[in-house]
Chain length 537, copies 2
Amino acid sequence: MGGKSKFELKTPKGTKDWDGKDMVIRDKIFSTITQVFKRHGGVTIDTPVFELRDILAGKYGEDSKLIYDLADQGGEICSLRYDLTVPFARFLAMNKDITNIKRYHIAKVYRRDQPAMTKGRMREFYQCDFDIAGVYDAMLPDAEVLRIVCEVFEGLGWNGSYTIKLNHRKILDGIFQVCGVPEDKIRTISSAVDKLDKLPWTDVRKEMTEEKGLDGEVADHIGEWVIHKGKHDLLDKIRNDPKLSANASIQAGVSDLALLFEYLESFGVLDRVSFDLGLARGLDYYTGLIYEVVTEGSAPESTPGAVAAAAPPPKKRGKGGDDDDRSNDPTVGVGSVAAGGRYDNLVGMFSGKTQIPCVGISFGVDRIFSITKARMAADKSATQVRNNEVDVYVMAFGGKGFVNERMAVCARLWEGGIKAEFMYKVKPKVPQQFKAAENNGVPFAIFLGDDEVAQGNVKIKEMGLRDGHPEKEGILVSLDNMVAELKLRLERKRTLEDIAQQAEGLKVVDGIKSADTAASIAPAVTDAAVANPETTQ
Amino acid sequence: MGGKSKFELKTPKGTKDWDGKDMVIRDKIFSTITQVFKRHGGVTIDTPVFELRDILAGKYGEDSKLIYDLADQGGEICSLRYDLTVPFARFLAMNKDITNIKRYHIAKVYRRDQPAMTKGRMREFYQCDFDIAGVYDAMLPDAEVLRIVCEVFEGLGWNGSYTIKLNHRKILDGIFQVCGVPEDKIRTISSAVDKLDKLPWTDVRKEMTEEKGLDGEVADHIGEWVIHKGKHDLLDKIRNDPKLSANASIQAGVSDLALLFEYLESFGVLDRVSFDLGLARGLDYYTGLIYEVVTEGSAPESTPGAVAAAAPPPKKRGKGGDDDDRSNDPTVGVGSVAAGGRYDNLVGMFSGKTQIPCVGISFGVDRIFSITKARMAADKSATQVRNNEVDVYVMAFGGKGFVNERMAVCARLWEGGIKAEFMYKVKPKVPQQFKAAENNGVPFAIFLGDDEVAQGNVKIKEMGLRDGHPEKEGILVSLDNMVAELKLRLERKRTLEDIAQQAEGLKVVDGIKSADTAASIAPAVTDAAVANPETTQ
C-alpha cells in the first residue's frame, strides 16, 4: 500500500471482506438454506448485533472471555452477540405472547478467538440457526430438525457425504453417574469426553484423571462406554446392561432415542444418523438430544475410505459388533459443519418463571462455504459461477455510439424485468463492448447499428452459438417485440441448461429450486416456439 | 417482567427486534430492492461490521462523535461502521485490481444518536446502498443511479408519489462564490442551506449571519437563488444571469445537469426529478451531483395536495415561474427516504494515489418500511401478509393420530419442494389442526383418515372454497400423485391471485416479479387441466 496514506489499509484481525465469486457462492448457500427453512414453516427474526452485557453473562462458561465489549461511552454497557441462541432465548422471554415458534436467523456473531483463517475460524462469522420452541410431544420437533439438516446438505449437493452424530445428555450423564463420577464433576468430565473426536482415549483419560482428579477406575469404566457407536443395536446394548438400564436418567434418554429413530425412519433419514456415546458437546445449556454434523469433505486426503463414511456398511450385530476403532474413523479430526441440541431451560434463565422448551441447529456457513467451493472447483462439469447475473449487454455498432438509444433500450428491458447493462461511454468501441459482455459471461447481446435505429429494430444475438446455428448471426426484431423475444430465449437457455445438468445427474448448489423451475418451464418453451419469432407473443 | 430474574429484559437503547409481519414486509422490501440492483448488473460485497478506528476518522465531520467504539480488550482499536460508503471506499483502496464495480450492500450501520423510534431514527438501522465506481463518460452512471431510484420506488408500489430533488455541488459552490462567501466558509454555509427543508429562510439566514458570521447582504444574495426549483427552465435562468454564467464552477455544473436531463429523458424518468438549488446535503465528501428522495407518504395528513406533489403540474415558464413558495411545498418537513451523490475523491483519501470516481445512493429502509406498512394498512384490497409461507398443513382425522404417516407425507412434500407443516402431537385433535392452519392462512390441507391410509391415498382440500365448488369437499389422490396434484393447485391459486391483483390495477410490494410469474405460468395452468386430475401428470 503506497502513497502518502497514513492509514493501515486492512480489515480488523479475524475479519474479512467478501466479494466476487466467493460472495456469489455464499449467497447461494444462504438461499439454499433459507429455502429449506421456509419449506418447514420457518419464520425469521432479526435481533440487534449487540446486547446488554448482562444478557450474555453466565451463558458461555469459560468462553465468556471471548466476548467483544463495546466501549463505555456513557449509557448502557453492551457486548456484541456471541451466538444467535442466547438472543433468541432473550427474545422469547421478552415476548410472552409467543409460546411457540419455528424461527430461523442468519446473521453474524463475534468471538475474540485466535483466528485461524485457513481453517475457517474467524472473529466475525455467519451462523444460520433454526430452532423450534414450544411444548410439544416428545422428539417430534427434534426429528424435524434432523430432517432439516439432511435437506440442507442434500440441497447443497453433498449427496449423503455427511453423518449426523447424535447422543443424549440424559444417557451420557447417566453413564457418568453409574460409572461413579461425582455429581459436581459431571459437566467437566463431559467436556473431556467431547474431545474424543480430536484426541485419542489415552489423552482424554489423562485429562480426566490428572487434570480433573477423577479416579482412574471410574475413567476406565467411562472409557468402556464412550467408544460405542451404532443405532438400535447400541440402544439394545444399553438396555441389556443391568446397571445402566436401572438408571432413571438413562431410561428416559433411551426411550427418547427409540422414539426418535422411529420418527427418523418415517422422515426417511434414519440412515444419516449415528448414535455416538462419545459425543458430548461443550455448551452447558443442552438438556436432551445433542448432535453435530461431520463430513469427510474437510478430512485429510490420505484418509482411506472417507467417502464411505456417511453410509457405513451394515455390521454384524452383537456385543461390540457396531463399534469402530476410532483411529480408523474417517470423521476423526474433522470439525463439525453444523451442531445443536435440545435446551429446555435457557428461556427460563431470563423469564424467571415461563419455561419454553427449545431444540435447534446452527449451521457453520464459513466451513460449509470452504467445502462447497472446493467441491465446485473439483467438479469441472459444474456451471461456471458468474460475478453478476446480467442477461443482456446492449451494444452500439458503427461510429455514432447511439448512447440515448442504448439507454432507451435498457429502460425497456429493465421494465420487462430483464437484467441489462450498457457501456458508460458515449461512443464505445465494438471490441470493448464485446469484451465487457464476455468477461461477465453475459449470455445475450443486443446490437444497435444505423439500420436498426433507422427502422426501430434491434438485433438479438446469443453469445457463443456454434457455426451453422440458425440464429448464429442474430435475429432482427422490432423494439416492441424485443422484450418478449428475449424472454423466450432466456427461458429456453435456462431450461436447456437445467436439463443438461439433470441429464448428467449433477446437483447444482441450488438443487431443489432448479429442478422445479425446469419442470414448470419445460412444457411451455420449445425450439418450435422459438423457430418462428413472429408467431410468438 | 417477573420472577427471580435479575436481568433487565430489553434490547439496548435505540435497537429493536424485528419479527412477525414487520419482518416479512421488511424482507419483501429488501428483495424488491435487491431485484432492482441485480437487474442493473449489481454485485454485492460484505464488509465487517467494525473497522479500524483510523479508517473512519475524519470522514463524518462533527457527526464523528456518534461513532460507536469497541472496548480496548487488547489488540486493535475498532469502531462500528457509521455508514456503508466509507467501508466501500476502503475496500476499493485495498483491492487495486478492482478499477470499476457496480456494488450493492444491504447491511446495518450504527450511530449513537438520540433515538426517535417513532420517526424511525434508531441507533442500529439498515442501509441499502448501490454505488457505481469507475472512470466513465460524464453523467452516464449518475443517470443510471437515478433510474434505479425510480425502479425501486415503483417496485415498492409507490406509483410516482415521490420526487428526486437534485442539485450540483459545483453550481451551489459557484453561487456561494459569486455571492461573496469566503472560501473557508463555503462548507459551513452549505450546511446551513441544507436546513431549508426543515426551517424557513429567515431562520437559515439567521444561522448564516449570527452563528456563522456571514455578511447580511451576502446572505440575501444567496437567499435569492436557493429558493429556486425547476428543470431546464432553472438551467436557463442560471445561464441567463451574467454573473453566474461567468463562473467556471457553475459552467461545469450546468453542463453536467444539461447532459443528465438528456439522459434521464432517454431513461424515461425525467419527470421524477426536480432541480432544487436549496438542496445541499450535509456530508463533506460529495463533489458533484447530489440528490435526495422525498415523498408525501410521511407528511402530516393535513397537508393539502400532498399526492400531487410527485408530478407537479406544468407551470408557466419565465422568471420565477417555476418557483414554489416553500411553505406550501408538501415535501417540506418530510425526511428523505433515499439520498446520495457523486464522491470522486473519497477512495483517494485511503489509497493515496489511486483515485476512483464514484456515484451512489443509499436507501433508508426503516423509513421506507414505515411508509410501506402504512400504505398496506390503508389498502384493504392488498394481499394479507402471512407470517410464514406454508403451502399445506398435513392433518390426521380420526382417533389414531397417524403420526408416522403424517411425517412420511411431509417428507414427500418437502422432497417435492412444497412447504408443509404438521402438528407436533402424536394424537392431535381435528379442530386444533384446523386452527393452526387457519391462523397462518395456509391455503391447502391434506387429510389422512382410516380409509386414506388403508388405501395409500390422501385427500387434498383447498381451504376456504365457496359452497358448490367442485373441490369443496377435497379430492382423493394417491400418495404417488399427491405432489403433482398439489403443485398444480398451488400454481393455479397463485396465478388467479396475480390476475386478480392486476385486474384491480394494484401493485404488490414485489410488483415486477409477480407480473412476470403470472405471465409465464398463466398459459400452462387452466381450470380445464385441473378439472380431471387423473389426466394431468
